[in-house]
């Protein structure tokens, strides 16, 4: 009893946090699909990180390619070759880096903007809150792909542009979600208590509101990554990606432009698409499982 009392507040918080993490993990493990998604994502992350070890980046060079043109899979090229004689497997491994990188960067941008806008729109009453809400709604109705196409056309093509485009067009959903959370948290007694104790706005947002919306942000992040990777694929497919780098989307663009569907070069068009579906599906499954763990209202499902 007396030893407990002497534990510092920080240690207590840490202990509670780790206990709740353990509880959450136990709940998460019950979702078979979520765990499966996590495992698949682990494999793809490992592939992306270990790309330089498992395959030579020289295989990406068009001029130094060794295979024949659109060669079907054999013992040397496990997944065949593309129209330049490059190994599809090598492209796939290196493409995972770009696809994941763009997806994660775009998500970071989207979460950053969305969280700030959502927090502000929910926390401030009166004109500021209403104006921010309106702006969010405006951005929500902008048809996403046409805007992305327009921005990507006007700006210099590149990885950062594409991540920026995706990030800047995908934040409103997050912002609205967070705003609705903040609106309900704002009315809770402990916020009132903090106000009475003299807490400033910044302190209230940072110490009392943000920690409560973070779980939602977290669950939402995985769903946003899924959308971001899909969008990267689509933009690259439309030829708006970085022309100097290989991603799954640009592979599909290549496959489409050489008519891989009509020539029957399934090894060119199938693998990148399957990778996209697997990764996006995994992010969605993990996101759903996380949402289930973090949102008790949904738990009965």
């Amino acid at each position: 009893m007396s030893t407990d009392a002497r534990i510092s507040a920080r240690a207590l918080a840490r202990r509670r946090r780790s206990a709740s993490l353990r509880r959450g993990w136990a709940l998460f493990r019950e979702h078979r699909s979520g765990v499966a998604g996590l495992v698949i994502l682990g494999c793809f992350t490992a592939m992306a990180l270990l790309a330089p070890l498992v395959s030579d980046s020289a295989g990406l060079s068009v001029t130094r390619s060794t295979g024949g043109i659109l060669q079907p899979p054999d013992s040397q090229f496990w997944l065949g070759t593309d129209e330049n004689g490059r190994s599809i497997l090598t492209l796939l491994v290196w493409g995972s880096r770009i696809s994941l990188f763009v997806g994660l960067l775009a998500t970071a941008i989207s979460m950053f903007v969305g969280t700030i806008m959502g927090l502000a729109a929910g926390y401030f009453r009166g004109f500021v809150g209403a104006a921010l809400f309106r702006i969010t709604e405006w951005f929500l109705v902008i048809p996403f792909l046409p805007l992305a196409i327009v921005i990507a056309t006007v700006l210099q093509r590149g990885l950062l542009t594409i991540a920026f485009v995706i990030g800047i067009t995908s934040w409103p959903g997050t912002a609205l979600l967070i705003r609705s959370q903040v609106l309900s948290i704002r009315e809770r007694p402990y916020i009132e208590r903090a106000q009475i104790l003299g807490a400033g706005r910044w302190h209230q947002i940072r110490r009392h509101i943000l920690p409560n919306v973070m779980p939602m942000v977290f669950a939402n992040t995985t769903l946003t990554v899924a959308v971001a990777i899909l969008t990267e694929t689509t933009l690259s497919f439309l030829g708006l990606g970085d022309p100097t780098r290989v991603s799954w989307g640009s592979m599909l663009e290549g496959a489409y432009s050489v008519g891989a569907m009509t020539t029957g070069s399934w090894w060119y068009i199938l693998p990148p698409g399957i990778c996209v579906v697997l990764v996006v599906l995994s992010f969605v499954l993990v996101g759903q499982a996380l949402e289930d763990v973090l949102n008790p209202r949904l738990r009965r499902r």
Binding site: L145, P146, I269, V276
Partner: protein, 348 residues
């Protein structure tokens, strides 16, 4: 099955026929409509301003991007700037832009040398046909799937339908289209690989309609599958929300048959959130139209936009973007008005 159900909701959930004093639904709804219309107008104004600035203020000199390095001399550049009014101050350019917009003048296509508005009008019908059929099919099938899987949650149908929906959701719709082309057009040879009609067939004869239907079968199937995933998942989750409610228990306790509890009570309420999602999805519908039209070479707005992208034909892109945004805003407004009609609670 779902369409009559949702039509019934209007007559059931709106309290009292509006022929009476109208004190409960009339004025409340009128104010609601007014507010929503004003909101839509504000959104439209925002889009118009955004559209102007996107093409003029974003980095780089429009003359350079538009010309793509075609100008060798300063005189050429200045002549170009004069033609497009780029030498005037920004506010005057904006006024000219607004004036042109009011007159329906969206500029002239750099590639086709015809007015953009004419290009868009020519292609709008095709896109509406493609997107309209797909949306209706996707809504009906998706809502039906959602109801069935929520009602027998965890059953075989549910697992199959939810798994399938999630996979479809995770799939780029154009990739699915490419797969369809590979299997059904190239492989089996059942359908043409692209285009809207065959050469030499009059599109306005019965044979021509059949021909168009054959051409549209794969794109419509692709878009339907791409859209229905969302609707099935949303319908499932909103029906699951309703199943836990007390009024459903009451309905069961009254001794109603299972189908009655489902169709007359739970589904009607669950359709409300689904309506919103279907409307909010219009932005996504536009996206699907762009890529699927490109893959199947259907001469609609989407293909127009992706072709303009290759040039790049800025005024066509700008016009297509404007039309797409206006469509989304209108669809949202329609959904909001419908929602207000169906559910009086949101009118406050």
């Amino acid at each position: 099955m779902t369409i009559p159900a949702s039509a019934d909701v209007a007559s059931v959930t709106t309290p009292k026929p509006r022929s009476g004093s109208g004190s409960r639904s009339g004025p409340g709804y009128r104010g609601y409509v007014l507010r929503k219309c004003l909101g839509a107008l504000a959104s439209l104004a925002f889009m118009i301003v955004l559209n102007f600035f996107l093409f003029r203020v974003l980095p780089g000199d429009p003359a350079r991007t538009l010309g793509r390095g075609r100008f060798r001399t300063r005189e050429q550049l200045e002549a170009f700037n004069r033609t497009y009014g780029l030498d005037e101050p920004l506010w005057r350019q904006f006024l000219t832009y607004l004036g042109n917009l009011v007159r329906g003048d969206l500029g002239v296509s750099l590639r086709y040398r015809v007015p953009v508005s004419q290009l868009i009008m020519d292609r709008l019908g095709t896109t509406l046909l493609l997107v309209g059929i797909s949306t209706i099919l996707a809504t009906i099938i998706g809502v039906w799937m959602g109801i069935r899987s929520a009602w027998k949650r965890g059953g075989l149908f549910d697992r199959f339908s939810t798994g399938g929906s999630l996979t479809l959701y995770s799939m780029p719709e154009w990739w699915l289209g490419l797969m369809f082309i590979a299997v059904f057009s190239v492989g089996v040879g059942l359908f043409p690989t692209g285009g809207l009609h065959s050469v030499g067939v009059d599109p306005w004869s019965p044979a021509g309609w059949l021909d168009v239907a054959r051409h549209l079968a794969l794109p419509v199937a692709t878009l339907t599958l791409a859209y229905l995933a969302d609707y099935a998942l949303i319908m499932r989750s909103s029906l699951l929300d309703e199943i836990g409610e007390e009024y459903v228990t009451t309905a069961r306790a009254k001794g109603l048959r299972d189908v009655q509890v489902r169709d007359r009570h739970a589904v009607r309420n669950a359709l409300l959130p689904t309506t919103t999602v279907i409307a909010l999805n219009v932005g996504f519908v536009v996206t699907g139209a762009i890529t699927v039209e490109t893959v199947f070479s259907i001469p609609g707005l989407g293909l127009l936009a992706t072709e303009a992208l290759k040039v790049p034909d800025f005024w066509v892109l700008q016009g297509a973007f404007l039309v797409a945004s206006a469509a989304v805003i209108l669809a949202n407004l329609a959904a909001n008005l419908l929602y207000g009609l169906l559910d009086p609670r949101v009118r406050t």
